[in-house]
């Protein structure tokens, strides 16, 4: 019944119905090259066919939004005629197969998405998930991923200013590598990935095309099993030096105004960039693969169109201005190859030495790609895991629990990791990694940007709606702690197989949670990425939405960090503490339980808290601010003393409302949301308290900074008393300890 047998369609990940749609769109049977093109463009990775109906509901507009989802990256207005251009992207599957190159090329991809928009990248962050650190394979994977991120980002000279890493068994066979990049552009000079103007030349520039990663996009859209190793296409190898040349050359070309549009070749390579640029401009594109620079011999049109070789860009240039553009690339020893023209027929026409090998309406590949409303069903595991019955009393004394948590790799210092990242190049980094949100100043202005990436898969496993809201809140809160007013967000949605109704339910609920939180906190989502099929042998990862939030700091000089600054300052706890151990790191580490419901989130209270923080920092009322997250208040308090040269603390807390045996543990380790620890100079304490009242935020004076100990009383009884040095040493060495005496 068709020109292609079932096996061929299977290999292309297309079902019968999709094949019929192709025939309808073309009004004929596709050629093999066309089949390949459809298969990558209609893959989950490129078409968002399962996620699209949900993503539509995200809030994407706002007075500052210059570019919402749909382009290579989003953009928000940051004043002074400038825009912050940012996005997050996943490279999960490639990083499992080849950790170094997978992570490196992930960094390369997101950097291209940013400079493609005409922005100079100035900061990177990453969000990583691995299995248990006690597993040697996991450690090897982590070492490779970190080295790959470092190898690429360091070489290009973009500082990695922050990130997060968490460890859970569910990621052992499917680690997550999400990379965020932010760049700065002139607000009125943002460049789009559009092809327009019949007869304008189309250029290819960058690395030569090889057989790398052919079908990478379809691979990222299928589960892993033990045969994945055989399906391996040639792994893509990153070339950061080429990327650096492309970055500089493209930014220089953009200054000439000879450029119409530009797009990087990421997933689905030349195919995706060609049809997306055509489709956005309502135009057609006619290219000849014979003109595409090739690294290997005997490549077919199919292979050239589907190759995912890295560090390549597609440009549309104004006719008559070719020379100028070519000259800029020559300066950087890059050779721009003229591979085709823009047409007015809305078709993507691919030739091989003149012969047409594919002719497809660009819209059929993009806007008219299949969209599925996949069935959703509440997971059967849910009602059971949400039940939490605590033992009569905590298993170990609270001080031991604190020590255990400080040593938990999810909480412990990530210095072993970020020391491998150049986080200072460009001399803008105002808050170093490990000391709060990443903060970079914007040279030439008084402003700075704070940024944070956050997500908690465990919370989302227990309740994807609330877990996703909490991720938004935490990222925004981190930014607000530095004094940044949250002005935009991006998200990376890491989930299992969407064809399973239970996974789709997790996805749908998580997107609803993000939507609710972003609306309440006034954070438009300007883009993101969806990574599905994160499963190994039928076992899905925890649903893991990762949020990236960017905040604007009007006066860079007011920025504050996490750590205490002076002895004798007043310590305030903002927000309410409740008996909320569900999904906590404490339960996991001490009681080996992943149960209960994640903490409640009152979005109004959260918003008030963040507004208070931004105001307090701007007005110079606070000297440090640190939010409560994994490990609860006790960990937050301890962390406020780290890196300060032993400024300790002495606090007296009011116990949370619960059974006596649990009061102390729950007060110390509950992860109640919307709480921040702030240190304030004594002479400003009254003013600070007044501001808290203005915003309706509960602010309790819980003690003072000083001494060289972390000393915590609850209802007057001392429950924690440990030297800062001792606590810090545990926290500081816990991660690196796993890596000593190991090969690189």
């Amino acid at each position: 019944m068709s020109a292609h047998d079932k096996a061929t369609l299977d290999r292309h990940g297309l079902n019968d119905e999709e094949y019929q749609r192709i025939v309808t769109a073309l009004q004929r049977e596709p050629t093999l090259t066309e089949l390949g093109i459809f298969s990558v463009m209609w893959s989950e990775h490129c078409s968002y066919k399962s996620s699209r109906v949900h993503l539509r509901n995200l809030p994407t507009t706002g007075p500052r939004v210059l570019q919402g989802p749909g382009e290579n990256a989003g953009a928000v207005d940051i004043g002074n005629g400038l825009a912050a251009v940012f996005k997050i992207e996943s490279h999960n599957h490639p990083s499992f197969i080849e950790p170094y190159q997978g992570a490196a090329t992930g960094v390369g991809g997101i950097i291209r998405d940013i400079f493609t928009m005409g922005a100079r990248p100035i900061a990177l962050m990453n969000s990583l998930r691995f299995g248990s650190i006690d597993d040697p394979h996991v450690r090897r994977n982590l070492e490779g991923v970190v080295a790959g991120i470092a190898g690429y980002g360091n070489s290009i000279g973009i500082p990695t200013v922050g990130g997060e890493i968490a460890f859970e068994d569910c990621y052992a066979g499917n680690p997550l590598v999400n990379v965020f990049c932010l760049g700065i552009a002139k607000a009125d000079e943002i460049i789009k990935g559009v092809a327009k103007g019949t007869g304008n030349p189309v250029y290819y520039v960058g690395a030569k095309t090889g057989r790398d990663g052919i079908h990478g996009a379809t691979m990222a859209s299928a589960e892993f099993d033990d045969k994945s190793a055989e399906k391996r296409p040639a792994v893509q190898v990153g070339d950061p030096f080429m990327e650096k040349l492309l970055l500089e050359a493209c930014l220089e070309v953009m200054k000439t105004d000879a450029l119409i549009g530009i797009q990087d070749m990421g997933a689905a390579g030349l195919t995706c960039s060609t049809c997306e640029m055509g489709s956005r401009g309502g135009a057609g594109i006619d290219i000849d693969v014979a003109h595409v620079p090739q690294r290997e011999t005997g490549m077919t049109a199919y292979e050239i169109m589907l190759s995912e070789s890295q560090e390549r860009m597609l440009l549309v240039v104004k006719r008559g201005r070719e020379r100028e553009v070519e000259d800029v690339f020559e300066k950087w020893d890059l050779h721009a190859a003229h591979i085709g023209e823009v047409t007015d027929d809305g078709l993507m026409r691919v030739r091989d030495h003149g012969n047409v090998v594919a002719e497809i309406p660009t819209a059929a590949l993009t806007d008219e790609a299949p969209v599925y409303e996949r069935p959703m069903q509440t997971p059967s595991y849910l009602s059971d895991v949400q039940k939490l019955s605590l033992p009569e009393r905590p298993q170990i004394p609270d001080l031991d629990a604190l020590r255990a948590l400080l040593a938990s790799p999810t909480i412990a210092s990530k210095r072993w990791v970020y020391r491998q990242y150049d986080h200072m190049v460009r001399t803008n980094t105002l808050v170093l990694p490990g000391m709060g949100a990443g903060v970079v100043r914007i040279k030439g202005t008084d402003t700075a940007l704070a940024m944070s990436v956050d997500g908690n898969g465990r919370y989302c496993y227990l309740d994807p709606y609330r877990g996703a809201m909490l991720a938004v809140a935490e990222a925004a809160r981190n930014v607000a702690c530095a004094g940044g007013e949250p002005i935009g967000g991006t998200n990376c949605l890491n989930f299992g197989n969407p064809e399973r109704p239970e996974i789709m339910w997790q996805f749908g609920r998580a997107v609803e949670g993000i939507t609710a939180a972003c609306k309440a906190l006034d954070i438009p989502i300007t883009g993101g990425n969806v990574s599905l099929y994160n499963e190994t042998d039928g076992k899905a990862i925890y649903p893991t939405p990762v949020l990236g939030v960017v905040g604007l700091i009007e006066d860079a000089q007011t920025v504050i960090g996490r750590g205490f600054r002076e002895t004798g300052d007043v310590i305030f706890l903002l927000g309410d503490s409740r008996h909320e151990l569900g999904g906590s790191e404490y339960l996991k580490v001490v009681h080996d339980m992943v149960r209960g419901v994640p903490p409640e989130l009152d979005l109004k209270a959260e918003r008030a808290l963040q507004q208070l923080l931004v105001a307090a920092v701007r007005e110079g009322l606070a000297r440090s601010a640190h939010d409560c997250a994994e490990g609860g208040l006790a960990i937050t308090l301890a962390e406020c003393t780290f890196g300060t040269g032993r400024i300790g603390l002495n606090v007296d807390l009011v116990g949370v409302d619960t059974a006596d045996a649990w009061v102390a543990a729950s007060t110390l380790f509950s992860e109640s949301a919307s709480r921040v620890v702030v240190s304030v100079a004594p002479e400003r304490a009254a003013a600070f308290q007044q501001r808290a009242k203005d915003f309706g935020v509960p602010a309790r004076d819980i003690g003072t900074t000083g001494t060289a100990r972390v000393r915590v009383l609850i209802n007057g009884r001392c429950v924690i008393d440990i030297a800062v040095d001792e606590a810090e040493a545990i926290w500081d060495t816990a991660l690196g300890r796993h890596f000593t005496q190991r090969a690189a």
């Binding site: 197969i97 790398d212 040639a234 792994v235 190898v237 070339d239 080429m242 020893d333 090969a743």
Partner: protein, 87 residues
């Protein structure tokens, strides 16, 4: 006994270093160098009685640590015997 292990990128895998070296050589006037591929080279000192033992130890070590099978392949030479195994 001594073994030499040569680790090279598989032929289809892109070698940015090799490419950059060729470019540099061309701009220095060495057009006669048409291609360069860069690999790694290891010299192992082995406590092994026979060259067979040496070879099997070397290849175990190469599999385990010296080569990344996803992108690289390797070749071993045991210095006492000139024969060459490839994998």
């Amino acid at each position: 006994m001594r073994a030499r292990v040569f680790v090279t990128l598989k032929p289809s895998v892109f070698d940015p270093q090799g490419k950059t070296i060729v470019d540099a050589l061309h701009s220095l006037g060495y057009g006669g160098v048409e291609d360069v591929r860069q690999g790694k080279y290891f010299e192992l000192e082995l406590a092994a009685e026979s060259s067979e033992n040496a070879r099997s130890l070397a290849s175990e070590v190469a599999d385990k640590l010296l080569a990344n099978p996803v992108i690289e392949s390797y070749r071993i030479e045991v210095v006492d015997s000139p024969s060459v195994t490839t994998k």
